[in-house]
Symmetry: none
């Protein structure tokens, strides 16, 4: 990944930057309603902050593009989300803290249930427990026999598993075997370039063995694979911006991206309030804090408009604990929109506020989809947000004489 | 530098374009205030013009990037400010009208005072007078002996000096010798690529001689060097847009950039009012006039909010002399922001108005940071401003059939 102009301009100081990310916070009106979740919520603290901030809307990847959590977060951290896009496997590995080397290909697996004809009847194997997952992974480790390369079989949550092949000459361009449907057999892994033939060959051999070893399992009797990816190291936020960075996030995906860009990862905490405890405790030890709050996205994915409104209001109630720390730059936004009306991520731009002593004031009075249209920041690409945060913390030198 | 799409579309007519550039005009509120310098100023003439114009905000280089005057002006003239970024030396040469050839490497020098250990005690040699500077340059010309190449030693203003090496095989990638600090010795000039080794070698030899020749000077007894640059010719505004262009600016940097893009350079005038005399006198002789007014930036750099307000009001008072000429396109903007609150250039977008018969009207009622957010032009890259000016003067053909 090439150095950006920004990277060449960074300089050090003692300012503190906080990114408070409300996952999927951007929304839509529901049915005949006219107000979004953010507009419906009572948010006195966010309102007050918005009036002292520069406001705007961020476009996660490109107009019309609905981002996954991976690209959306890479963009927030100033990484080109298309260039940085990597297979699910690498993110999954990062999310569980599995340290990949540059000889590794990682892939995300799902335990599934197949019938006697090998056709998938349950793509998630009845969402087996994580304990059950661990037992089955142990079994596979004992019985599977691959000798050309080293193979790691790592249980993740519930039905999810991470596979890592470590060896020479392994390409990552291999097609998914998950057909994303039931009543059909899993697909064969296919190499999509010559450099990945060895990987595909080994995985075929692996899946043949899995079928036999798990034949007597009642639920998890097969594995489907998605997101083969060869590991490529990323330049870290320390290298790019000189920021010592801490990730305070409780879900593997966000911890994973943060890990890949070199942040320290705070241990998982029980809830949002404990995430703020962690922020308070570590505030002086880092230059940059990434606080990821999940409840807004969850409610949006459930299509539960009211729950999303409540989630926003709860976070608003916690905001004074963040502002009390007096960060030099405080950004509040989301990685993407998750409108309850769509029950999924969407392409809609996301309201953003950037508070600092040097934020140009505007006429936006709230952090909402409509108000932010009046904002000084306009609508811009998520990947430029980090440059603005660095500028407002006076961490960027002048360009040219 | 590659031709842009715009360059291929230009055609000639008899329209007149005026760029009235209020250096550093973009601002910020100060302390507990909420109004910027532009918002505070009484500007009846600009207000009236804004209501008849398309308004917007320009981003000089990229979001978050604070530009130097060089890149900021290249962008105003439609040149990519990153691609066009050049060493201080070339700009300095252009600023004093020193015509560089393609065998030249130029570097900006500062006379400095060093103690008996060679450590810098004053990086500007007590800001010696320009007369004193000229005397010392004469002395150096007489006594310094370099035979591999031709060496020019040109006094600039106060403690500033321009050095030009002319010869074959001279690269421009040489590190600065100015340590940007006192109590330390100047650095050695280091070649940063093989093609620049000869340049570095000659400059070392030169600096050894300077140390001896100036040993008995009370103030200017050393030179530090910054911004080595090999001259590369730019395509001119005449070549790119077919515009016969005049620069009416009183400071070397702006005259320098204008010279590099092929403008004719009006002699220095005593004040802003005389700059408008020059505009009036030359109005019919050119297609494009660049009028650069410095007072706004100066006040901003001094952190003097009220002086910047007054500077804006004074310029507003001169505006009727410009509109009386009835230019077909009149652009009023800044090269960058210089908020009094920051006492320096900043990254904040700059209000812009574009008046012409064909400007789409909008709801912005003033040329201010907030009002321009409502403008028809939106927020856009400075380097696209020239294309808009050409379009509004009907100097661009249709693209495609």
């Amino acid at each position: 990944m090439k150095d950006s102009l920004i990277d060449t301009l960074t300089e050090q100081n003692h300012t503190k930057i906080v990114f408070l990310i409300l996952d999927g916070v951007g929304g839509l009106h529901l049915g005949d309603g006219t107000q979004t979740e953010l507009e419906t919520a009572r948010t006195p603290n966010l309102d007050s902050l918005a009036r002292r901030s520069s406001n705007g809307l961020i476009i996660p990847v490109a107009p019309g593009v609905t981002p996954g959590s991976g690209p959306a977060h890479f963009a927030l951290f100033g990484y080109d989300p298309v260039e940085a896009n990597i297979g699910r496997g690498v993110l999954e590995a990062a999310g569980i803290g599995f340290q990949l080397t540059d000889r590794d290909v990682a892939v995300r697996g799902n335990f599934a249930t197949v019938d006697s004809q090998g056709r998938i009847t349950d793509r998630r194997a009845g969402r087996i427990s994580t304990e059950e997952n661990k037992r089955i992974c142990e079994k596979l480790r004992r019985e599977i026999n691959i000798d050309e390369v080293e193979l790691f079989i790592e249980p993740v949550k519930e039905h999810r598993v991470l596979l890592v092949l470590r060896g020479d000459g392994l390409g990552g361009a291999v097609s998914d075997t998950d057909p994303q449907a039931t009543s059909v057999q899993p697909l064969e892994p296919q190499a999509q370039d010559p450099a990945s033939q060895k990987t595909a060959q080994i995985m075929k051999h692996f899946l043949d063995q899995v079928r036999k070893v798990l034949a007597d399992e009642p639920q998890a009797n097969m594995i489907t694979l998605r997101g083969f990816a060869k590991h490529q190291p990323y330049p870290t936020m320390q290298e790019r911006y000189g920021l010592r960075s801490l990730c305070i996030a409780n879900y593997p995906m966000y911890r994973g991206v943060a890990f890949l860009v070199g942040m320290d990862i705070h241990p998982v905490t029980p809830d949002a309030s404990s995430q703020l405890d962690a922020l308070e405790k570590n505030f002086t030890n880092y230059d940059f804090h990434f606080v990821h709050l999940k409840s807004t996205d969850k409610a949006g994915e459930d299509g539960d408009f009211n729950a999303k409104v409540r989630a926003i209001e709860e976070i608003d109630g916690l905001l004074p604990r963040v502002t009390a720390l007096q960060p030099d730059v405080l950004v509040v936004t989301g990685d993407h929109s998750t409108p309850s009306a769509l029950r999924s991520h969407s392409w809609h731009p996301v309201p953003v506020l950037l508070y600092s002593k040097y934020s140009r004031l505007d006429e936006a009075t709230r952090l909402t989809e409509k108000e932010c249209l009046k904002g000084a920041l306009g609508q811009f690409s998520s990947k430029d947000l980090m440059a603005l945060a660095l500028a407002h913390s006076l961490r960027l030198k002048k360009f040219g004489a």
